[in-house]
Every structure is written in structure tokens, then in C-alpha cells.
Symmetry: C2
Subunit: 763 residues, 2 copies
């Protein structure tokens, strides 16, 4: 029986979808603008849809292969039987979010541009509410997927009467019979974490593939169009200009959405599993601990919806006032959430420790976002310093940017460390590991609880950007462009803080997954023990058993009941200390993986950009009248080439990110995997912060010069700053965000493959 408060969770999820639909409808009835505006928007929409179609075809194939592999592993008894199916639901829901979000965004751009010709506030509303569609479908489908599976597993599969038939029906070799209610919930939640794998795989392609697409299109449009042909940005004569606009949607709407869908689902699932495994919890309390992270997320959804309605601005708003308008929405919903949670803690529904952990996560997210803003906004010294270095040429611009990116890592790292320790301390008081890591999970859940609105403000950026492009291509009056530019500038700020937020939540989610990994290992040890003729599984000198204790123990051996095993038992059996060279090997490999994955992403952008450059040059050469505006460029062809290239470039990095954790598990066992995940998480977090901040700083240093500083546009300083911006593009939009994906995906693969590692590892 699930508790009655649980029903808030699926209801909130449905509310999210309902309001997503309402916001979509309220946007779609807005005026579309001139025929030209409709036409341009339709090109972008068609390009975006063509991209998605191609991507989903490739992902679909990968999914078929992975589902088949997972099914084989399940048949061999080293994988959960539900994973192949759940893998699909997670992947499909995430993909559906990407589709709906991009569709909305591409309908919204010309409507936003047209609204801007009427009123700034109206344009803000159209863009933000369209962004909220993405935000709300992500949290809605994410939470719906989780609650449906939980209800299904809890009510249909894992019931005494159905279990045997149910599992035999799908021809499986393990049959968890005779477990009590407590054990049942542990099994269910540990199984459910693995369901995040589908979302992870989808995110890999959406975020990294999207990053490769968008930068290739950007470089192609700039290099040939702006520099070689000498036509302005967003000029309709440039064949790559539509691909460039599509790229904003692909990378920043669908990519960001899939990235955060993964974090959202992963953190809730991991925290629920950690909650189920909390020691010495009676029946109802265990259910509470499982439902709590879902409940916090559900309430967060309702308050995010409220937050969307709080955003408004005056017609003559300054950039500062615009920003405050948005902050009222995000800050307001977070503030309301804290009040609700405090009431819940007072009522005993969550502990005050959990409340503290949620606060830690929320505060950490805000500070990381603010530090990103400091290091990448031209209002502060770092960006101005880069602009100043442009006086001595491109080399000093690059050196200064790298130094600033590296230096900037200190804030996010110290903040995440403080957040982790605070969450751990609040929830577990430093002496209770299980409650402590449950708290860390809650820090991630807390950071992401108001994702509905934070993702809305993130998606708002590319919509405003596209609206500006649409206005430009359709020659709307200058003041319209000024208004969309104001919104675009606001979007850049939310994008910068959003990036910090994405990597922060990725690190916390990865950490919760690493902790949950041990629950997964525990479950598999139990299954192996049950299957073995001796009734136990030996790891080092420890014999883990589930049903009955081993009768004979040799000297130095220790028997541990898995029902009461603590993290210390696993640490000791597997030697998960920093002094185990196998774990250290994993740590080295994890650090290395982040560098190599970055390198692959960067090289992929370069190669794909090369293809775009060739195609744009070909069109300028072969299409008659293209420069005079009489010949029509083949926009779709550019989109197609960038899309095909991006998907092709994804194959090797994707395989690597999935295979390395599996291989590490088989060769180096559990200690190797734990080291790999920890090394990847710590180095990846620092590296992502560096790449994001350096890239953002270079970008804004260029814009700072373009506004007339150091000689303004076309000066030598500007040329130098363009070099910085070009280097920064793949850093901040491809390699940096790729780290979010890598650290979560490696953890998720480890969780999903825990059975393989436990059964087959060499060490």
C-alpha cells in the first residue's frame, strides 16, 4: 500500500502537463506576424524537426541494440528484467519532452518577435510561457514515469500472489520470493534507479550531439557567411543561417532539457532508493522516506507553475528590472517551497535534517549560478580583463581566458563541497552514513525541485534569440530588434546561471548515484547468494548471505547478513579505501576520461564545422543569384549535413562513455568502478566549470568590445577577441556541457551494470 500523500506526486505531474498544454495553447493563439515571419519560422521549425527525426532514428537504433543486450543480460540473471522495458519508457519520455519543447520554441519565436512589436511585457510573457512548456513537460513526464512505475511494481508485480507467475511468465532466472514488505520496497527502488539509463542515453545524444550540431552550424554560418561573403549575421542569403537558428533550439532547448530530465529523474530515483535502505525504519516510515523526494519534487512543480505567473515587467524596463522580473519567478517559487517544506518538517512528514539538506542544495545552486554570472558577465573584472588583453593580440586573449576559467573553479568546487557536507551533516549528523547520503540525495532533489521554472527561464533564452533572428531576417523596425535584444541579453544571463546550475545538479546527482550504486551491489550480492548452492557470495574475506548464514567459517572470515549489512561491511569486504591501488587506478582513469571525452567532443565540432564550411561555400558557388537574393539557398541541405555529421560524430564518444564503466567493472571490480566514478565526478566538475566559464567570458569579452570598447567592431582588438570567442564556443557549448552528461552517464551505467560487475569481475 502506498501512502495517501503519495498521490500528490502523480497529480502534480499531471498538473505540470496540463499547464504545459495551457501555456502552449496561450502561445499558439498569438498573432504570427507577417507572411515572411511565418515563412522563416517554418524553415527553422522544419529544420529542427528534421534534426530531431534524424537524431531519434539514430538513438532508436542504439536503443534497440542496448535493449537487446540488456534483455540478454536479464536472461542470464545479471540484469533486472524490467530494465529493458523501463529503459525504453525513460528514453521515450525524455525524447518526447525534447520534441514538445522544440516544437513549442519554434512556434514561439516569430510570435515573440511580433509581440515585441506591440509590447515588451507581452513579448516576455510569450517567450517565458513557451519556455515553461519545456520546463513543465520535463518535470511532468519525469515524475509521471517514476510514479507510474512505482505504482506498477509495488501494486502489480511485487505482490506475493503475482510474483511467481509474473516473473516466470517473462522467463527469468531469478525469483525474489518470500521477501517481506520492507525488503520488497528496497528491491523495487533499487530496481527503479536503473530506469534512469534510458534518459541518460537520450541525454547523451541530445546534449552532446546537439552541442556538436549547434557549433558546427554556428561556425559554418560565421566563417563563410560573415567573414568570407561579408554579409551580416542572420542574413537570409546565408544558407547556414537557418541551421544556426535551429542549432540554438537543438543545443539549448532540447539538449538542456534532456540533460536536466536525466538529473531530475536520476536524483529522485537515487534518493528514493537510499531512503528505502535507511536502517531501522518501520513500515510506514520506510514508505515516507521513499515518497519524500517525489513529494518534494511534486510540490516544487506546483510552485513552479505559480512562479511562472509571478513573472511580469513594466514596458520601459531596464535590463536590471527585467532580470528582477525573472528572479521574482524563480526566487519566489523557491521561497514558497521552503515554507511548505518547513511546514512539512514541523508536521513530521520530513525530518528537519532533510529540510536542511534541501536548503543546502538550493543555496548551493544559487551561489554556483551567481559565480558563473560573475566570471562571465562584462560587468565584472574577469571579462573586462580579457577584453583588455585583446590589445596584445589573440594569444594573450586565449591565455587570460584559460587562466580565468581555471581560476574560477574555486567557487563552484568549494560551494559544492560545502553543500555536500552540510547536507550530509544536517541529515545524518556526521555519524550516520545512511541518513547522511540520503541527505546528499535530497540536496540534489532540492536543487532541482523548482526545475519547472528554472528550465523555463533557460529555454526562454534561445526563444528570444530566435525571435531576434526572425525580426532581423524579416526587416522588422529597429525598436522591435532592440526589445528582442533586451530579452536576448536577459537570456544570456539565465543561460550562464543555468549552466552552473546544470553542472552543480549533475555533480550532486552523480554523487547520489554513486551512493545508490552500493545499494545496487547489495541487491545483486543477495541474488548471487540466493542462487549459489552455498547460499552466500564471498567477497574478500567476507561471506555475504541473505537467507541463511554459512555453517563453516574459516579463520579471518566474516559472515554478514545482507539484510543488515552497512556501508562499512562493503568498504571492508571490497576494500573501498583510498589506499586500494585498484580503486586508485579507477580514480586515475576517471580523471583521464573527462579529458579524453572533452577532446573527442571538441574534435567532433571541428570536423563537423569543416563539412558545413564546404557546403556553404558550395552553395555560394553553385546557386545562381544567391548573393543578389534572387536565388534561394538550400537551407534544409545545411541542416541535413550538420545533423548527419553530429550523429556520426557521436558514435565513438557514446560507445566510450558506456563501455569504459562496464570494462572497468569487469577488470577492476567494484573498487575500480567506485574510483572511476569519483575521479570522473571531481575532475569533470572542475573541468566543466573551467570550460563553461572560460567560454562564457570569451564570448562576453567580444561583445564588450563590440559595444565600442578598445576600438569596437572591426578593430584589431575585436579580431583578437573573435579568436577567443571561437575557441570558447566548443568549450562552453559542447565540451563543458558534455561533462554533465559524462559524469551522470558513467554513474548510471555503473548502476545498471552492477549485476555484471558483481558476478563477473576479475578483482
Amino acid at each position: 500500500m502506498v501512502s495517501s500523500l503519495f498521490w500528490i506526486v502523480p497529480i502534480s505531474a499531471l498538473f505540470a502537463l496540463l499547464f504545459a498544454w495551457i501555456f502552449y495553447k496561450s502561445m499558439i493563439v498569438q498573432e504570427e506576424g507577417t507572411d515572411k515571419m511565418k515563412e522563416i519560422a517554418s524553415y527553422v521549425r522544419e529544420g529542427a524537426m528534421a534534426y530531431l527525426k534524424k537524431q531519434y532514428t539514430v538513438v532508436g537504433k542504439i536503443f534497440i541494440i542496448l535493449v537487446a543486450l540488456l534483455a540478454v543480460l536479464a536472461y542470464m540473471g545479471v540484469q533486472n528484467p524490467f530494465v529493458p522495458v523501463a529503459f525504453l519508457t525513460g528514453g521515450c519520455f525524455s525524447g518526447l519532452c525534447g520534441y514538445l519543447g522544440m516544437r513549442t520554441a519554434t512556434f514561439a519565436s516569430n510570435r515573440t518577435a511580433w509581440a515585441a512589436s506591440k509590447s515588451l511585457n507581452k513579448a516576455l510573457q510569450v517567450a517565458l510561457r513557451s519556455g515553461a512548456v519545456m520546463g513543465l513537460v520535463v518535470v511532468g513526464f519525469g515524475l509521471l514515469d517514476i510514479s507510474l512505475w512505482f505504482l506498477f511494481l509495488n501494486g502489480v508485480i511485487f505482490t506475493p500472489e503475482h510474483m511467481v507467475t509474473g516473473l516466470k511468465f517473462i522467463g527469468l532466472t531469478f525469483v525474489p520470493i518470500g521477501i517481506d514488505e520492507h525488503q520488497k520496497l528496497i528491491e523495487i527502488t533499487a530496481t527503479m534507479i536503473t530506469f534512469g539509463m534510458g534518459a541518460s542515453t537520450q541525454a547523451l545524444f541530445a546534449r552532446v550531439g546537439g552541442g556538436i550540431f549547434t557549433k558546427a552550424a554556428d561556425v559554418g554560418a560565421d566563417l563563410v557567411g560573415k567573414i568570407e561573403a561579408g554579409i551580416p549575421e542572420d542574413d537570409p542569403r546565408n544558407p547556414a543561417t537557418i541551421a544556426d537558428n535551429v542549432g540554438d533550439n537543438v543545443g539549448d532547448v532540447a539538449g538542456m532539457g534532456a540533460d536536466l530530465y536525466e538529473s531530475y529523474a536520476g536524483s529522485i530515483l537515487a534518493t528514493a532508493a537510499l531512503g528505502a535502505a535507511l536502517p531501522s525504519l518501520a513500515g510506514a516510515d520506510q514508505m515516507k522516506a521513499i515518497v519524500a523526494p517525489m513529494l518534494v519534487s511534486g510540490i516544487g512543480i506546483l510552485l513552479s507553475i505559480a512562479g511562472v505567473y509571478m513573472v511580469r515587467t513594466k514596458e520601459s524596463a531596464t535590463p536590471k528590472a527585467l532580470l528582477n522580473g525573472l528572479l521574482l519567478g524563480t526566487g519566489g517559487s523557491s521561497f514558497l517551497l521552503l515554507i511548505v517544506l518547513a511546514v512539512m518538517a514541523y508536521a513530521g512528514w520530513i525530518t528537519w535534517g532533510v529540510f536542511g539538506a534541501v536548503v543546502s542544495g538550493l543555496v548551493a545552486g544559487v551561489i554556483i549560478g551567481q559565480s558563473t554570472e560573475y566570471f562571465t558577465s562584462d560587468g565584472y573584472k574577469p571579462v573586462q580583463g580579457i577584453a583588455k588583453q585583446s590589445q596584445t593580440g589573440p594569444a594573450t586573449v586565449i591565455i587570460e581566458g584559460i587562466a580565468i576559467g581555471m581560476f574560477s573553479t574555486w567557487v563552484p568546487v568549494l560551494v559544492i563541497v560545502a553543500g555536500i557536507i552540510a547536507a550530509y551533516g544536517f541529515a545524518g549528523g556526521f555519524h550516520n552514513f545512511a541518513f547522511g547520503v540520503y541527505g546528499i540525495g535530497f540536496a540534489a532533489v532540492g536543487m532541482l525541485s523548482t526545475l519547472g521554472i528554472t528550465l523555463a527561464t533557460d529555454t526562454f533564452g534561445p526563444i528570444a534569440d530566435n525571435a531576434g533572428g526572425n525580426a532581423e531576417m524579416c526587416n522588422l523596425p529597429k525598436e522591435v530588434r532592440e526589445k528582442t535584444d533586451a530579452l536576448d541579453g536577459l537570456g544570456n544571463t539565465t543561460a550562464a546561471t543555468g549552466k552552473g546550475f546544470a553542472i552543480g545538479s549533475a555533480a550532486l546527482t552523480a554523487l547520489a548515484l554513486i551512493a545508490a550504486y552500493m545499494e545496487e551491489v547489495k541487491m545483486w550480492l543477495g541474488r548471487m547468494a540466493d542462487k549459489s548452492p552455498d547460499g552466500f557470495k564471498q567477497i574478500g574475506e567476507t561471506l555475504f548471505y541473505k537467507s541463511h548464514a554459512p555453517s563453516i567459517l574459516h579463520e579471518g572470515q566474516k559472515a554478514v547478513d545482507l539484510g543488515h549489512a552497512t556501508i562499512r561491511d562493503f568498504v571492508s569486504a571490497y576494500d573501498l579505501s583510498m589506499f586500494n591501488p585498484i580503486l586508485l587506478a579507477g580514480l586515475f582513469i576517471g580523471a583521464m576520461m573527462t579529458f579524453v571525452f572533452c577532446a573527442m567532443a571538441i574534435k567532433a565540432v571541428g570536423r563537423n564545422a569543416g563539412r558545413m564550411v564546404d557546403e556553404v561555400r558550395r552553395q555560394f558557388r553553385e546557386i545562381p543569384g544567391i548573393m543578389e537574393g534572387t536565388g534561394k539557398p538550400e537551407y534544409a541541405k545545411c541542416v541535413e549535413i550538420a545533423t548527419a555529421g553530429a550523429q556520426k560524430e557521436m558514435v565513438v564518444p557514446a560507445l566510450m562513455a558506456i563501455i569504459v564503466p562496464v570494462l572497468t567493472g569487469i577488470v577492476f571490480g567494484v573498487p575500480g568502478v567506485v574510483g572511476l566514478l569519483a575521479g570522473g565526478m571531481t575532475t569533470g566538475f572542475a573541468l566543466a566549470s573551467m570550460l563553461n566559464n572560460a567560454g562564457g567570458a570569451w564570448d562576453n569579452a567580444k561583445k564588450f568590445i563590440e559595444r565600442g570598447n578598445y576600438g569596437g567592431k572591426k578593430s584589431e582588438c575585436h579580431k583578437a577577441s573573435v579568436v577567443g570567442d571561437t575557441v570558447g564556443d566548443p568549450s562552453k557549448d559542447t565540451a563543458g556541457p558534455a561533462m554533465n552528461i559524462l559524469i551522470k552517464l558513467m554513474s548510471m551505467v555503473a548502476v545498471v551494470m552492477a549485476g555484471v560487475t558483481v558476478a563477473w569481475s576479475l578483482f
Copy 2:
């Protein structure tokens, strides 16, 4: 009583010094060349000496402060009483090596140039043997310092009759009375590791300060001289040209020497301490285990001397033949070492396990060096790829270089992982931790055993480079410059492999120090236990005692005799598992430290280069007739400014590198420190490999273009490649090598401050 074989150690050390003197003498009697050559050489020599004087003055002040602090800590009973003194001997010997090596190198440059006008082989001999002076003084003084202290502590201080008086005399609060011979050796070796701190501090200033000096001089000379004034490289009219030549000596001779002195001493000391603490060794066997790493190093010295004599080449040697000539020296001495060690293993003086560990270290060093060569030499695809990217401008050169640097990390990381696991497995068979980490220590010792000759081939590079500069400034015939260029090219190869070797040995040394750190903690736990009224020190639920077991144990508590404590007891008491969030916090901070330290080093180069640029411009403006060659530039002034700047820039990074481990120890305790060191080591290793390889690749891509590819000198491609080279300079010569120092220094500080951490930590 030390064993008789031990005497080989100080004798080898003296041999090293004797041959250093012989090589010095054989160089100094060579002809000096023309008066002009003598004059130029004397400028460089004076500049180098002025630099050293200034640096040693600053380091001297820092040393006084640190010695005072260490003495206070010793008085408070949380520091070894010998450390303040030993700190000085290590620092002074390392400094003396720098002085002698630089002096030799600066005498050798004009002699090498003059020898080149006679014969290529002769020039090779002069340069290599002058380089061998540096190599041999480093290993000679390093091993002499260690053996003298060992004899002193073993024979004079830690004897039953002298101990009480000896220690009371210097007014100390801890008196290790009544320990047996076995315990005595553990105390001595654990104390001796802390002696590496002086060498570490010296290395910090020599390597990082040297890196800041050399790049500032380089940029100053290039930017104003070559680009603004349009005069060629090494032109005597350029005021910064002498500083540039001084820089080669400061960074690549003195800096590299101090870096490897630290690794050499650190790895021997750590391995000896790990050997002393091996469980269940009887008296003579314990002594063998302590002496073994010193002995391997001593034999390595003798074979290094032999190796120097093996190097020779034909007059018409191709670059390939020249390289083979050098390889005969380095490879030959390594090969002979393996034969000697095999004989020793056969005779039972070392185990076959140790033999395997030494082989692992040697092989790992060679492969890492070779991979560096692959990624940074223009004979292979990576560098050619960068050169190709110059066709699309500086931005793509930078992007490609960063990607190659990141990608290149996979080889050194996998090789070091394989080396660590092999050494651990050979020595301990995967089931004996103590023997396993002793093996890892031996891998470091093995890698560095033939340092006498490998450092000679490293120092050879800057000597040949300076010889070329001397020939250029003195207008020697073109074929002389061709010969010195051939030697210089050879030097670039050895420098590249030397860099891989330096970071590889730094990682292994740091790892051995982390393992030895626990021995240090153990020693301090014993002292705290002895001093406490209860006779034990409680960590978590474990009561560590030395003399007598605690009488009452509460439930869940465990009493552990420090005499028999294993690593598992510490792992459990301190919770040194990857799942301790405090340790994880350390891991995050360690990763972050490497980025921030890099950022500081890079920024320091930029600021210091700015000062040089101003000064060179001032001289061109104010000195009449400077461009016509009638006015004499103030070379010394440039050297002075770069020197003062470099030392000033060192203060903040130096403080940070020393304070962070201390602070981490006090706030987060032993788990935090262990995490910090592991995080710094893994991320620092990957980051250093990336920076070194990217920098080297950019440098050689530029040279590849200068040899006529893609339009050659002065083409647009060349300009783009110069940007890459300029970005690469601080990467490969300052930030990358700074990582070697950082990871060793943090470990060394942790070891030295173990007493403070054990006594005062909050967690």
C-alpha cells in the same frame, strides 16, 4: 648497526660528486672561443648568477620563517625535532645543485659552440658531460644527504644511551624511550621522510619561479625585439636576449634539477619508511628493506656514470643517429641496472617482487616519454594536424592543440595505472598491502635510479640551445650554427621525454608519499597515545595504544596496538573510504587546487612578461644608438626585472600550496588530507600531461611551418601558429611543470604536518 652493503650508498654518492668534478674539469679546460663569445657567455653567466642570488635570498627568507614555525611546532610536540635542521640541509643541497649545475651550463655554452666549429662529436661530448655535472650532483648530494642523516640518526641520536640526553638537550617534549631496534628504525625512517620538505620548498621556487622568469624573458624578447623592432632572434641589440638565454638555464637546468632532486629524495625516503614498517620482518631483513631503495639508487649512480661514457656519435651523424647515440647511454645504463638487480634478486638481497616493481617503474617511464615524443614531434600526425589547422587561422590552431593535449592524456594515465598495479602486484601479490605499496615506492625509485644520466640528457638541451645562441650572437660560420641546431633539436626531443619522465616520477613519488603519510600518522598516534594520561588516542571508535592496552572498552569500541596496526585499522578508524564525504570533499578540493595553481602560474607569467615588455621598450626608446649597435643595451637590468617579478609572483601560489594541505588537515583531518592528495595527484597528472603535450605540439607545429610547410615563415599560417606557440609557452614551461611540484609539495607538507593534523583536526 647498519649492514655492510649499506656503505655502497654513500660511496656511490661520493663517486657521483667525484665524476661531476671530473666532468666539470674536462669541460673547463676546453677552448673558450673568441673574445666576443667569452663576453656573451659571461653576460649570461652573470645574469644566471644574479637570478640565483635573488632567488636564494627570497627562498632564504621563506626558509627562516618556515624553520622558525617548524621549531615552534616541534617545541609544542607536534613536529619532529630534527625537521627544522633537516629542512635546511635538504634545501641547501638542492640549492647547491642548482648553483653548480647552472654555473657549469653557463661555462659550457660557448665552449660547446667553439667545439662545434671543430667537430660534432666533440660538441656533443662537451655539452653532454656538462649536463652530466647537473645529473651527478643531484643524485650525489641527494643520496649523500640521505645516507649521512641515516647514519647520524641511527648511530648517534637513536641509541639507548644517547637518546634521553640527546633529546633533552634540544629541549623537546617527546622522548621515545624504551623502543626496540625494530621500532627505532621505523621512527628513524618515518622522521626522515619529513626531511624532503626542504627540497620541496626549494623546488617550488626553482621550478615555478624559474618557469615564470623564463617565459617572461622569452615573451619580452620576442614581442618587442622580433615583432616590434624587427630584429632576429638572439640579436645582441635586443636588451632581453641575455635574459632569454638566462631563462633557458633557470627553467630547464636549475628548475628541472630541483624538481627531480625532490622526486629522487622523496621516493627513496618514502620507500625506506615503507620498508621499515613492513610487517613481520626480523632485524636484518628490516635493515635490508630500508637500505634496498638506497642501494638501487647507489648502483644506478655508478651505471649512470658508465652510461655517460657510452654516448658518442659519428661526425656525419643524422638526427636519428645522434638520438641513438644518446639512447645508448640512457638505455645502456638502465639495461645494466636490470642485470645487476637480477643478480641481487637471485642472491636474495632483494625479492623478485621488488625487481618486478623496479622494472615496472622503468618501463612506465620509457613509455610515457615515448608517448610525449609522439604527441609533440612533427614526425607524427598530432603536430602535423595542428599545422594544418593554421590554414583556418589562430582559433582552429588553439582548438586543435587543446584537443590533442586532452586526448594525449590517455597514454600516460593508462601507463601509470598499469605501472602502479604491476608494481603493487609484483611486490605484494595483490593480497599484502604493505609489501604492495613498498613495491609502488620501488617503481618510483626504479624510474629515477638512472637519473644521473637521464638528467644529463635533459640538461644537455639548454646547453646546446645556449651554444646556438652564442654562435648566433658572435656571427660564427653557418655550419657551426647547423651543428648546434642539430644538437638543439636532439635536446628538444630529450626535453620532451624528460618532461613526461618528470611528471611520471612525480606521480609515483607523490603516491609513495601518500602511503608513507599513514606511517607518519601512525608514529604521531603513538606519540599522542604515550603523552596522554590514558595511554591511548581515540580515533572514531578505535583506541590506538602503544605501551599498554586501555583497561575499559565501551560497546562498539576497539583497541588497536600501534605496533601491529595495519592499514585496515586506520582505514576503519579514520573512515578512509571513498564514501566518507569528508574524504570526498578533499578529493574535490585537490582537483580544484591543480586548476587554480595553474591559473596563478599562467597569470604570473602574463604580468611578469608585461614588465619585461615595458622595460625593453624603455631601453629601445632611451638608449641612444642601440639599434645601430653603437649603444650597449642594459642586459642586467632586464634580468633583474624578470627575476624580481618572478620571485614576487611566487609568494601567493607558494603560500597557497603550503597552507591548503595544512588547513585541510586541521579542518577535515586525515580523511580530508588523503582525499586532497589523491585528487591533486590524479587531476594534476592528467592536467600536466595535457599542458605539456599541447604546449610541445604547438611549439613544434610552428617550427614545422617555419621549415617551409604551409607557406613557411611570415605566411598567414605561420602567424596563426605563433599564436599557438605563445599560448603553449606558459602551458608547457610554467603551468605543466608546476603540477609536478604541486602534487609532490602537497604530499610532503601533509607528511611534515601529520603531527598537527593528528593532534588538532576538527573532524
